[in-house]
Amino acid sequence: MRPLYETQRLMRGIRRAALQRGVIAILDLGTSKTACLVLRFDGPQRSQAVDGVGPMAGQSQFKVIGHAVTRSRGVRFGEVDSMGETERAIRTAVQAAQKDAQVRVDHVIVCFSGARPESHGLFGEAEVEGPTVDGWDIGRVLGSCDVPAIGPEREVLHAQPVNWSLDHRTGLADPRGQVGQRLASDLHLLAVDGPAVETLLLCLKRCDLECAGIASSAYVSGIASLVEDEQELGAVCIDMGGGTTGLSVFMRKHMIYAESIRMGGEHVTSDISMGLQIPMAMAERIKTLYGGVVATGKDDRELIPIGGDTGDWEHDRRVVSRTELIGIMRPRVEEILEEVRARLDHAGFDQLPSQSIVLTGGGSQIPGLDGLAARILGRKVRLGRPLRVQGLPKAATGAAFSAAVGLTLFAAHPQDEWWDFEIPSDRQSSRSLRRAVKWFKDNW
């Protein structure tokens, strides 16, 4: 297979082609559920028709026309574990969404949460060649970044320039066209396990789908659930998923740090299953119906039948009080949050001007979680729900869908990445051509 860097360049072209055709699918491949949304892009002129509604952060140009959710299979810790099963889950979701939309989709943008994402900060600088900064200068600045040792079998998933400085001015959003001598850039690079990503791409290929983009689910759920001022002033989005908990730190509308903890809601479920000696499905059910993290006196009296069909009367009529359930769940949730806190401390989150914490993802729906998180993380915490996009069904507006919704925004407005700029000329064969031209110019 070709390296992921080139694949990403190709995907950008595929995405552009898909937007021209107007239909693209969004696939959120999670550990516990696989969600598929079908988007139709109508161009910006449709949004003008609705009177009194603003451009809605640029997301009025598309509409969700198909929606399907299915239970994930063959995915563990956000990574493909069994390809056949994963393919079946993808096929189920895509087919149901296609049927809902009554249109065939060929292009899909996928996000996943696993593959051990790791953030690196890069710095590069170069002299501006012309009078003003153009795309070539940016390409050379990005080319001058020295890539850190991201390790063997690791690939770059996101590489986004987050800050530009020109001479003594810093904090530029877009230096193109500005006048200056020396251009420097800070880059945020997110490295993931290469084989995991390539397995995922193979899965999509075997479902006859063309991948038009790939993103980390921590990043896209941050896009969906952080509001504008949080993204501007600094915030962390904690996406508590099934198998992993992703966190992404945003500052000045750019992701500056992302991390994934390989613990999530399914670990809570398996704790319940082991602690109460019940099957996983039953544990999942009582977790979602009765789960919590703060016990009160009333919970002692609330008895939950946990049943069974062994035929043993005593065994099949067991009950458990809600306090016991909470007692099982709370340590695991606390462990996850402690881990989040450790990662945030490592990332230097306390240096940010504003330190809002937004909890999202399916796991954030545990009652009382915001209080617990505030106590452990020590900051102001809110529960985030994804932005509302046009045509999204009510069933998909919950916190569990923030990655899917973020992916729709990502599809409509992707961040400029490393590979979107021209490759610097001195890395290309055009260098010799330029030298030939220069020789001609000098001698005649």
């Binding site: 299915t70 079946r88 889950a89 096929r91 189920t92 087919q95 296609q98 009554q102």
Partner: protein
């Protein structure tokens, strides 16, 4: 009866569609198989779907009809049936033409048109060939133009614009009536039938009918004496008066020449004299030819002494 009830009870369960059978202890797999997934995607492809939803039925109908029409008997039966239906519609009383009305023609022409446009009534208006009929009517010389239409109520109206004869042309085969365009509109047996029309004669007379009419108008002062105009050599006119008097007119501007004659006549009663020919063919040398008695008288008068009458032509003052 008991057997029927038993049969009924046995049949009912097989008609009711039961839930998909699943092996106890396993859950039904909701995932589509690879081929059913591909099939569904194919069916959602717009082109293929349209092909199947429109092309399929259309193709089936075409195939069945082609198979059915491949037999000659079926084709014949079909065409006979179509003819029968067509006839049944065309023979409806609303479409039948029962009478002919002729507008704008005199009695003789009406009779002629009726003779030409003879149709077996009643006839369906679908079977009427109005164009051919109109050509037949306009082929009549007395008809300048004709309009045919079927009026509501089943009447065929033939509106005719008739040619009006303006002169009688004596030709080798008899007397013809011609109109202002020089077209023959009919024949008459005797000049006395149309004394109201002037007479012209000679080869090519009908081609210069305009000039002839202008000349007749110019000759109005001697109208009772005018017998007619004779075309000479297909280029100029002779006006013939009674007593075999002739006015020979030039080929260019004959009307002016005739007006000169009329002026002379009004001044000196020239035409009342014993003249045979007034020759104006050469404009600057008009010539008179006298009849022999008059000539003799003139000669005698010239010979007698004391006469002031010159034998030479009267000089004109220009």
């Amino acid at each position: 009866m008991r057997t029927l009830i038993l049969l009924w009870r046995l049949t009912i369960p097989s008609l009711v569609k039961g839930p998909a059978t699943t092996v106890p202890g396993t859950r039904r797999d909701p995932a589509p198989s690879l081929w059913s997934y591909r099939y569904q995607r194919l069916m959602l492809t717009p082109l293929y779907r349209r092909l199947l939803h429109i092309g399929g039925p259309v193709g089936l109908v075409l195939l069945v009809s082609a198979l059915w029409l491949s037999s000659a008997d079926h084709r014949a039966a079909l065409s006979a049936r179509i003819e029968a239906v067509k006839d049944a519609v065309q023979e409806r009383p609303e479409f039948m033409v029962t009478s002919v009305e002729i507008v704008g023609a005199d009695r003789a022409l009406t009779a002629a048109i009726r003779e030409v446009a003879r149709i077996r009534m009643p006839v369906s208006s679908f079977d009427l060939d109005l164009d051919a009929l109109r050509l037949k009517v306009t082929d009549l010389t007395a008809v300048r133009s004709a309009q045919l239409r079927v009026k509501p109520g089943g009447a065929l109206e033939i509106a005719v614009v008739q040619r009006v004869p303006v002169a009688v042309w004596r030709y080798a085969d008899g007397l013809r009536l011609i109109d202002a365009e020089g077209v023959m509109t009919g024949m008459i047996a005797d000049r006395a039938d149309r004394t109201d029309l002037p007479l012209i004669a000679g080869d090519g007379a009908k081609d210069a009918i305009d000039e002839a009419l202008a000349l007749f108008a110019a000759a109005a002062p001697v109208a009772p004496r005018v017998r007619g105009l004779v075309r000479m050599g297909q280029r100029r006119w002779d006006m013939v008066l009674d007593n075999d008097q002739r006015i020979l007119l030039p080929s260019e501007e004959p009307v002016l020449a005739l007006e000169r004659v009329m002026a002379l006549h009004q001044a000196q009663e020239m035409l009342d004299r014993d003249l045979a020919v007034v020759d104006l063919r050469l404009g600057d040398r008009p010539t008179l030819r006298l009849n022999p008695p008059a000539l003799a008288t003139l000669r005698a008068a010239a010979a007698s002494p004391g006469s002031s009458t010159a034998a030479a032509p009267i000089p004109e003052d220009h």
